[in-house]
Symmetry: C2
Subunit: 351 residues, 2 copies
């Protein structure tokens, strides 16, 4: 561990700059009313001594930690295995760095650890939180609300309780799914299967609703739930083919399950798109381009979603009482509103 080094004090800065402690304090906290020449001397002393203001005290005064927590409600292994999260974090990281705010990623092994995440959020270590991949019955939203930390969600949270005002960024999952299935129907496909995502997540439910908008009274055997991973996409595709050997198309709720489905179709000797057409969701690169054949899919701009969540949160913090940790809702004020981004069908070879 690093060696003991005494941190320079406010007194040391004052002594070096030849000013009073109060003057140092005012300069460090960005208060007005200090002559520029004096302020410059203080700043030089701060730099020379490597003075770091007592963050907790400074936070109390400025009401800012210049740090934002990111919570992904998935086990850490999933966070690193699914490129979706890396893309969203890329957008968040760029935006936070542009505002010189620290990205604090709180990792967990699973839902059992969410109470601890709630305690950290309540502990006054961050100005706000960006939370995504929520599942129904997850205690996290309640814990966050209790922590009182301003929050923007990635994806529409699934609770029906209207008492909670939330700000979220989402894609038009239902509209995108509708377009995907209409495209398959337009190719003359009639037995269109759907590999859904986990139905305790609104993104998966909304995509299923979009499928149903087109496939009214669809054969229930055409639906198989998956957990959004490639391996589970393979399992779901096998199940679909076993149930419905006459299947002529599949809409997979994300590109990773679509990639698994394509592997199974090839393994069974079925040609894509001639025998079975396949459409995914995400347009996750390079995955969607590197499948065999390349994947027709519904594009959502994942990195931009991360950026937008961050901008909404920072705007809320600037406008409201953000960062006091007293009121997440007040912090949002009447300002930022949820945003639903449009999706686009990207045609490649698979459908």
């Amino acid at each position: 561990m690093s060696e003991a080094v005494s941190r320079p004090t406010l007194e040391a800065v004052a002594a070096r700059a030849g000013v009073s402690r109060a003057t140092v304090s005012r300069v460090v906290n960005g208060a007005d009313g200090v002559r520029e020449a004096l302020a410059e001397r203080v700043r030089r002393a701060v730099e020379e001594l490597g003075y770091v203001p007592n963050q907790a005290a400074r936070s109390l005064v400025t009401k800012r930690h210049d740090a934002v927590a990111v919570v992904i409600a998935e086990p850490e292994t999933r966070v690193f295995a699914d490129p979706f999260f890396a893309l969203q974090l890329r957008g968040i990281s760029k935006e936070l760095t542009a505002h010189d705010a620290q990205l604090v990623l709180l990792l967990t092994e699973g839902r059992d650890d969410h109470a601890r995440v709630g305690r950290y959020l309540a502990g006054g270590h961050v100005d706000g939180a960006l939370v995504f991949s929520l599942h129904l019955d997850d205690p996290l939203p309640g814990l966050i609300q209790r922590a009182g930390v301003p929050t923007v969600f990635g994806g529409r949270p699934g609770w029906s309780d209207g008492s909670r005002r939330v700000v979220y960024v989402d894609s038009d999952n239902r509209g995108g799914a509708r377009e995907a299935v209409r495209h398959l129907a337009g190719l003359g496909r009639r037995r269109i299967g759907h590999i859904t995502g986990p139905l305790d997540q609104t993104s998966a439910v909304d995509r299923l609703d979009g499928y149903r908008d087109v496939m009214v009274d669809a054969d229930p055997r055409l639906l198989v739930e998956s957990d959004f991973t490639p391996a589970d996409g393979e399992r779901a595709m096998r199940e679909l083919l076993d149930r419905c050997p006459d299947l002529d198309a599949v809409f997979a709720a994300n590109d990773l399950t679509a990639s698994g489905a394509l592997r199974v179709l090839r393994e069974r000797g079925l040609r894509v798109p001639e025998d079975v057409a396949v459409v995914g969701f995400d347009d996750m690169l390079p995955v969607a381009e590197q499948t065999d054949p390349p994947l027709t899919t519904v594009r959502q701009d994942i990195e931009e979603m991360g950026r937008l969540m961050t901008r909404l949160l920072l705007r809320g913090l600037d406008r409201g009482d953000g960062g006091t940790g007293q009121s997440g809702e007040a912090a949002v004020g009447g300002a930022p509103r949820s945003v639903v981004l449009p999706t686009t069908l990207i045609r490649r070879a698979s459908a």
Copy 2:
């Protein structure tokens, strides 16, 4: 330092500001109903005395935040692209979760953001830090030292300044490299190239030293530096082949560059291992098993390194005054010492 002993109290703040304890409490807790002039006096007293309020104060009493920062001195895109970091984080996450401590991953866009990381570490948000992938000339070690937060490093830090006591976990990079190159020499190879890692990192320097232990007076054209990525492994392999067409073996400093080298050898119509034998370093799965041909490599237990770093840090925190952020060295006590783990040569088809 004895700052913990003379920690300022609410009473001290009240006395300095010339107000009642109740008034201090109201201001500190963000309650309304205190005249702005009074509130300003309280805030100034808080700042001047370095008084740490409420939640943070409780942490000081218990001396624990139950949170550990992880800092990877690479841009966030690299953190998510290189499975090495995911493996190390997996070990850290499991170990911290077993101790109900929160993993706080501080992401950056690059070295320019390290000052901000230093501020966060100094801010009293974590009990300790795990820091890895340091590069020479990185300001991070100095910033961490100034922050006074107990730290364990992943990989031997590269500074020569003996004044800093450090605890680190590393693999026997030099011994492992020596074994790799001896293995190639034992196969009768004489023109053995080496794709090094970034030579501002001790892991890369140590592996180069191991190579030189065997290849005394090696032709300098047999050495090409890379940045540890697959793409740069490809570039380095092309350069090696252009310089030394008679090359009969390559020791790549990690599996990712080895995978890039294998692609280039195939592209040039060279057979592995018949024409050119290849050995990597890491035994990163599934990479090392899925290359064509599967990779002979030097195994280091990356996940175990993460676990061990975490255990050493937590042991230091338990024994010393860890978590006050006042004295990293005291926190270590005489207890945890650096550990260098052995490596093993894993033979597959490439050499």
